[in-house]
């Protein structure tokens, strides 16, 4: 039989690969030591030649995950940068957020990196801990001046092990977004100011018979419940990032998830966050969700998809210690493997300039330069986000953040399906995060 021959061949190959593989451990000690010698010339030689190369035209690659409107605006920013810096051109490549990390990993592992990239603030320490990013303090001439011009919160997301590996290109946070028509129809005149009011409004807006929900979250990943979590006084770890016990399972953290669990059980929060289903923007746009919690990009999304929607923004309802939310945004980084460090630094400086930040603000990208707060050139709706940013908190700046996020995500899911009560679920998350921190 032909098939069996093919099969024998495949199995033989597997055996062969194991035979070869078995040799590898013996060899590993050597290659591990040899590798730097082999790698180093490739990585360092161009850096030495750098000054001589500058006169030649260089192309800086810049990878990002911008929206349509932002990407269009970016081309204008690139054009003005190129006009001001003859000899340097910028080639931007856009990725879907969900593919971006893989794309970056592949490029880094393959040694063919983009010179610069705009990445999620939560990723910088992760990439920096692997030595994939260029340290900017001490290497970039105008680093100190730029660092002094931006908000300290977003800047701190670039810090890893005492050094800075990026600059905060933009910032954002989430606020309450509510359907004004639904509020009016229910006779609710103002956005809920406290979490008690928020829970009541969520249930008042709910109409199970019509499949209408007062509140909806996009998922169970930490970003979604984070504003409620922080506003209720929740914390993930201590400030020094040494332990989660007593923080992620504190009374405040438990109260936050209990509030969400109650809303879910009462049917006042849409089941979409667990079961797939109607996305928060589509649901709010079509009058199915009364309130969602989301960021400044909703303005453009609603303008494009639901121009009729009558919605308003409000601060996250206050918990025991007032309002709070979660800091988001992106940092611009220079990849360690770049062969055009000098030109890349010029491009990064330009992205951090007022000109570039004001230009991108026109399409909803919030600037990080503190002096632009309240500037007349900023869109009016930035005001509420700027106000929320004063109390918003950053996620834990740790290379282990993805795993911590996953631990809390799973705890939230166990709570929602009723497998554990909030205290037990968060106790488990605390011990999981502690184990990560101990590594």
């Amino acid at each position: 039989m032909k098939n069996s021959k093919l099969f024998v061949f495949v199995v033989l190959l597997l055996v062969a690969s194991f035979g070869l593989g078995a040799c590898a451990p013996a060899a590993t000690a050597e290659p591990a030591a040899e590798a730097p010698a082999a790698e180093a010339p490739a990585a360092e030689a161009p850096a030495v030649e750098e000054p001589a190369v500058v006169a030649e035209p260089v192309t800086i690659k810049y990878w990002h995950t911008m929206s349509d409107a932002e990407a269009a605006k970016l081309e204008e920013v690139i054009a003005s940068f190129e006009a001001a810096n003859p000899g340097i051109s910028v080639e931007s490549t856009r990725y879907a957020y969900s593919d971006f990390k893989t794309a970056l990993l592949t490029s880094i592992a393959g040694g063919d990196v983009p010179d610069t990239a705009r990445m999620d603030i939560a990723w910088v320490s992760e990439f920096a801990s692997q030595g994939a990013l260029m340290q900017l303090d001490g290497a970039m001439a105008d680093f100190d001046a730029i660092a002094a011009s931006v908000f300290p919160g977003p800047l701190s997301t670039n810090k890893w092990d005492g050094h800075y590996y990026g600059l905060p290109q933009n910032t954002n946070t989430q606020v309450l977004v509510y359907n004004k028509d639904m509020f009016d129809a229910a006779g609710i005149t103002a956005a809920p100011a406290t979490m008690e009011e928020f829970a009541k409004v969520a249930c008042d807006l709910t109409d199970a018979s019509k499949g209408v929900y007062g509140f909806a979250e996009g998922g169970t990943y930490f970003w979604a419940p984070a504003p409620v979590f922080y506003a209720m006084g929740g914390k993930v770890t201590d400030a020094e990032i040494t332990t989660a016990t007593g923080y992620v399972n504190s009374a405040e953290s438990v109260a936050a998830f209990t509030l969400l669990k109650d809303l879910y059980d009462q049917g006042c929060m849409s089941p979409n966050l667990m079961g797939g289903g109607i996305a928060t923007d589509a649901g709010q746009g079509t009058g199915i969700y009364g309130m969602i919690i989301d960021g400044p990009w909703m303005v453009d999304i609603y303008k494009g998809n639901y121009p009729e929607l009558n919605y308003e923004f409000a601060l996250i309802p206050a918990g025991p210690n007032g309002t709070s939310s979660v800091v988001g945004g992106e940092d611009v980084v220079i990849l360690g493997g770049t062969k055009n460090a000098e030109a890349a630094q010029k491009w990064v400086s330009y992205l951090m300039s007022k000109d570039a930040q004001v230009a991108l603000a026109q399409v909803g990208v919030m600037p990080t330069i503190s002096s632009l707060t309240g500037d007349a050139s900023m869109p009016a709706y930035f005001a509420i986000f700027m106000e929320q940013l004063k109390t918003a908190q950053a996620r834990v700046p740790s290379p282990k953040w993805s795993d911590m996020d996953n631990a809390i995500n799973n705890a939230y899911q166990r709570i929602l399906v009723g497998e554990q009560d909030p205290q037990a679920a968060l106790d488990q998350a605390a011990s999981e995060i502690d184990a990560l921190l101990a590594q």
Partner: protein, 302 residues
């Protein structure tokens, strides 16, 4: 050069040309298959630094032990096994009967043959998303049918929120997509069975059931074994429907082995653990293959 001894140079020439013909294949095999295979085996023993491989720390079997003691990995193994079992059995049974039907002189036979094969060539991504929407907890087609049309349930089932129910769309999409291919392979097997044999049996008074169990099935044994081998390997390597429909949710209880490998490698940047997971799967597949190989080597069709 050619004239002195007619035989030796010719043999040499043939050897060289054979070598040249083989070279591209071997090169491809080594560069794209064996090379990476060995390289990733090495990675699996390190806390691997993807940006600076020279900074990787040798950790021995830690990556392997970490997985073997990890409840999420256990669950992924169970899910993969359950998925493989149900999809292989269902595809074999349904595919076989589809082949029997398609082998008859039925009206619009070509149309049905095409219709059965269409799911096979549609995109995994699209049909996975389609099944995800059909099993949506809100307004999904399946809930609509169960609740509003047949009144079997009085409340929407949130399929994807339950670690066991979430596997239903994952398994169904694979069955739906795979039946056509199985049917085509069975069909080609059926067409090698001589009509005379079946007619002779009929003349001798064999019932359709007897013809099926005494003639058709035994003669299809080779085809069946081939399908079992290939389908099991395919099932163990399942990735797309898990990744797109459940994403491991809820509570990391709906991973397949490969989605776990993907997450370790590309979300958690832990190449060492990712490689260890791949090799644990390889080990399992290898063991299974040995058993299957024995099955294949048995005389067929007697």
């Amino acid at each position: 050069m050619m004239s002195r001894s007619p035989h030796a140079p010719r043999a040499k020439y043939q050897f060289v040309s054979a070598l040249l013909f083989l070279l591209p294949g071997f090169l491809l095999l080594f560069v794209f298959f064996l090379g990476p295979l060995v390289y990733s085996f090495r990675i699996s023993f390190f806390d691997w630094n993807f940006a600076h491989p020279e900074r990787s720390v040798f950790v021995g079997f830690e990556n392997y032990l970490g997985q073997i003691n990890n409840p999420i990995f256990h669950r992924a193994v169970i899910n993969t096994a359950v998925y493989t079992f149900f999809t292989v059995v269902a595809k074999l049974v349904l595919g076989f009967f589809a082949a029997i039907v398609l082998n008859q002189k039925i009206p619009a036979r070509s149309f049905f043959r095409v219709a059965y094969y269409l799911p096979v060539i549609t995109s995994w991504v699209i049909v996975s998303l389609l099944f995800m929407y059909m099993f949506s907890g809100m307004g999904g087609l399946v809930n609509y049918l169960l609740k509003d049309v047949f009144h079997l349930i009085n409340k929407n089932i949130i399929w994807l929120a339950d670690p066991i129910l979430a596997l239903v769309p994952v398994i169904l999409v694979d069955i739906w997509k795979g039946v056509g291919w199985v049917a085509v392979i069975f069909l080609s097997g059926l067409q090698t069975i001589s009509k005379e044999l079946l007619e002779a049996a009929e003349m001798d008074g064999a019932t359709p059931w007897q013809r099926l169990t005494r003639i058709t099935l035994p003669l299809l044994r080779g085809t069946t074994v081939f399908l079992v081998v290939v389908l099991i390997l395919g099932g163990l390597n399942s990735y797309v429907p898990f990744q797109l429909i459940t994403h491991g949710n809820p509570m990391d209880k709906t991973h397949s082995i490969l989605t776990l490998m993907y997450r370790a490698t590309f979300s958690r940047m832990d190449f060492g653990n990712g490689a260890a997971i791949s090799y644990l799967l390889t080990l399992f597949v290898f063991a299974l293959s040995v058993v299957q190989l024995k099955m294949l080597n048995k005389p067929i069709g007697e």
